[in-house]
Amino acid sequence: MPQITYVQSNGERRSIPVSPGATVMLTAVANDIPGIVAECGGAAMCATCHVYVEESSLALLPPVSEVENEMLDSAASERRTNSRLGCQIAMPDGVEELVVHVPSSQN
C-alpha cells in the first residue's frame, strides 16, 4: 500500500499508509506526526506545514504554485529548493512512497 514517510530531525521515521490524493499535511495531523503545525488548516496561509521533500520524491510532485511559492518565503525554517507546503502536496497516483523531512521549527 502507498505510504508517506515522515523523517524527524533526530532521524526518527514513521510511515503512514495512504490513498492517492491524501495530502502530506492532513495525513500528518490525523496521525499525530510531530512538527507539522498546520495553523490555517490547509488554506496555504500560514507556512506552518513546511516540509523538505526528499529528492527522489520531489520530481513526482506537481510544480510549486504561485501562492505556495509566496507562502514558502514565510516558512520559519530555512527555505531550500526542496521546500514544499504539506497542505499543497498529495500522494500522487501510482507512487509507492513519498518521503518528507520535518523541519526543526514551524514558528
Binding site: 496561509m45 507556512a47 501562492v67
Partner: protein
C-alpha cells in the same frame, strides 16, 4: 457527476424547510441551540424566510468553501445578488471577486499580511500590549470593550495600516455596517447605514494616499499600484478592505476571549500558569466563540449538495459558526478547552477566500493573551455583558470586568 433536470419547486421540496431566522435578536444572542437544530435537520436546509438554502455542518461547509467555481463570491457574500441587484457599496475587489480578477488583488494583500511581513510588527505589538496591561492593572476594574478589546486593534492595526490617529472612532462603526451587509438588507442594516454617513466620508478620506503614513500597509498598496501590480484606483479600495475587515473582527475576537476566560476561570488558570499556551488558547476561542458567523455564496450552475439539487444563481448561507461546534468534526464541541488542538476550525473560512488577515489576527490575539497571562492572575465579570447585534459577526458593546495582578 450526473446532472438531472429538476424544476425549482421540486428541488425545494427535497430539502427540509425551516422558518429559522438567523438574524433575529434572540438567535444572535445565543445561536448555538439553533445551529444544532439546523444540523440535525439535514446536510442542507431551505430557509423560507430568506429564500436561501443553508448549510451548518463542517463537512459541507468545508467542501463548498473549497469549490469557489461552483459557489462564487462575485454575486456578493450577503443575501443580495450583485448580478441582479444594486450593491450597497462598490463591491470589494478581493472579498466579492472571483478568479481571475481575485487572484491579482489577493496576491498583493496576502503578501502584506503574510507571516514574513507581519512578524516585523511583533516588537511594536508586544510593547503596546505591555502598555495596555499597565493601564488595566492600574484601573483594576474597567469595561474591557473600550479599554482592551477595541483599544488594542484601534491602536496597533490602525497604526500598521497608517491611518491618522484622529478620527479612529469612525473605524468600528464603518466595519460594523460592512459586516451587517453580509446578511439581508434588514432594519438593522438600514439603520446602521443611515447612521454611518460621517464614517463613510472619513473612511473615503483616509484611504487616500496623502492621508496615510509613508511606511504602512496603505502606503505599500499604493506602491504596488506604482509597480503595476494594481490599477491606480484599486489601491484606495484595498485600503478600505483592510479597514473594513481588520478592526471589528479582532476587537470582537478579543471580547469573545475575555468573556470566555471570565466564564471559565479554570481555563484562564491554565494559560496563566503557562503563557506559551496563548496562541493555542486563542485558536480555541476562535473555534468555540467564532467572531464571523455566517455569510453567503451563490451557485454558478445547477449543483447537487447534500442530496438536494440547487438551481443556478441560488444563494447559500454558510454557517461557519455552526461548523465549529459540529460534533461530527469536534469532540465535546460545546466545551471550551484550551488544551485541545483547535486548528482546522473554520473561523477564518478556507479556500481561496480564507481570511487574508488571519495571521495578523492570530498575531494580535496571541500577543494580547500572552501579555495578560504573564501579569494577570484572574479576570472576573463584574456585571452583565452587553451584546452587540450584527447580522454576521458576534461580539460585545460592554464587558464590565475586574482583574487581579499575578
Amino acid at each position: 457527476m450526473k446532472i438531472t433536470t429538476l424544476s425549482h419547486e421540486q428541488a425545494r421540496i427535497e430539502a427540509p424547510v425551516s422558518d429559522f431566522d438567523p438574524y433575529a435578536d434572540e438567535t444572535l444572542n445565543n445561536p448555538y441551540p439553533h445551529y444544532e437544530a439546523l444540523r440535525e435537520l439535514g446536510p442542507i436546509v431551505y430557509l423560507k424566510r430568506y429564500g436561501a438554502y443553508a448549510i451548518a455542518r463542517h463537512a459541507e461547509i468545508d467542501a463548498v468553501l473549497r469549490d469557489h467555481v461552483t459557489f462564487c463570491s462575485s454575486a456578493g457574500i450577503g443575501l443580495a445578488n450583485f448580478h441582479t441587484e444594486e450593491p450597497w457599496r462598490k463591491p470589494s475587489l478581493i472579498l466579492e471577486a472571483d478568479p481571475p480578477a481575485h487572484g491579482r488583488t489577493r496576491k498583493v494583500v496576502a503578501g502584506l499580511l503574510a507571516p514574513a511581513s507581519i512578524n516585523k510588527l511583533r516588537p511594536t505589538f508586544e510593547q503596546e500590549a505591555e502598555l495596555l496591561v499597565d493601564r488595566i492593572l492600574e484601573m483594576g476594574r474597567f469595561d474591557a470593550v473600550p479599554e482592551l478589546c477595541a483599544a488594542y486593534p484601534l491602536k496597533v492595526f490602525a497604526d500598521a495600516v497608517g491611518v491618522p490617529a484622529e478620527g479612529r472612532e469612525h473605524l468600528l462603526p464603518y466595519g460594523d455596517m460592512v459586516f451587517n451587509g453580509f446578511g439581508p438588507f434588514n432594519e438593522r442594516f438600514k439603520e446602521r447605514l443611515a447612521a454611518a454617513q460621517n464614517s463613510i466620508t472619513w473612511i473615503g478620506e483616509v484611504c487616500k494616499r496623502e492621508n496615510l503614513t509613508p511606511d504602512g500597509f496603505g502606503a505599500q498598496l499604493y506602491r504596488a499600484a506604482d509597480e503595476g501590480e494594481l490599477a491606480p484606483e484599486e489601491a484606495p479600495m484595498l485600503v478600505r478592505t483592510l479597514l473594513s475587515a481588520g478592526l471589528d473582527t479582532t476587537a470582537f475576537t478579543l471580547c469573545n476571549a475575555v468573556l470566555s476566560f471570565a466564564r471559565h476561570p479554570d481555563q484562564w488558570a491554565l494559560v496563566h500558569a503557562n503563557p506559551s499556551l496563548a496562541r493555542q488558547a486563542l485558536e480555541e476561542v476562535l473555534r468555540y466563540e467564532s467572531t464571523f458567523h455566517s455569510f453567503y455564496r451563490t451557485t454558478t450552475r445547477e449543483v447537487e449538495l447534500g442530496g438536494v439539487l440547487l438551481p443556478e444563481w441560488q444563494k447559500l448561507l454558510v454557517f461557519i459558526g455552526s461548523a465549529n461546534r459540529d460534533p461530527r468534526r469536534w469532540e465535546r464541541p460545546d466545551t471550551f478547552d484550551v488544551t485541545r488542538r483547535a486548528s482546522g476550525n473554520l473561523a477564518f473560512g478556507t479556500g481561496i477566500h480564507g481570511c487574508a488577515g488571519q495571521m495578523m489576527a492570530r498575531l494580535e490575539g496571541e500577543i494580547v493573551l500572552k501579555a495578560l497571562a504573564k501579569r494577570i492572575k484572574s479576570i472576573r465579570l463584574e456585571g452583565e455583558p452587553v451584546y452587540h447585534y450584527n447580522n454576521s459577526v458576534r461580539g460585545y458593546d460592554s464587558l464590565p470586568v475586574s482583574v487581579t495582578a499575578a
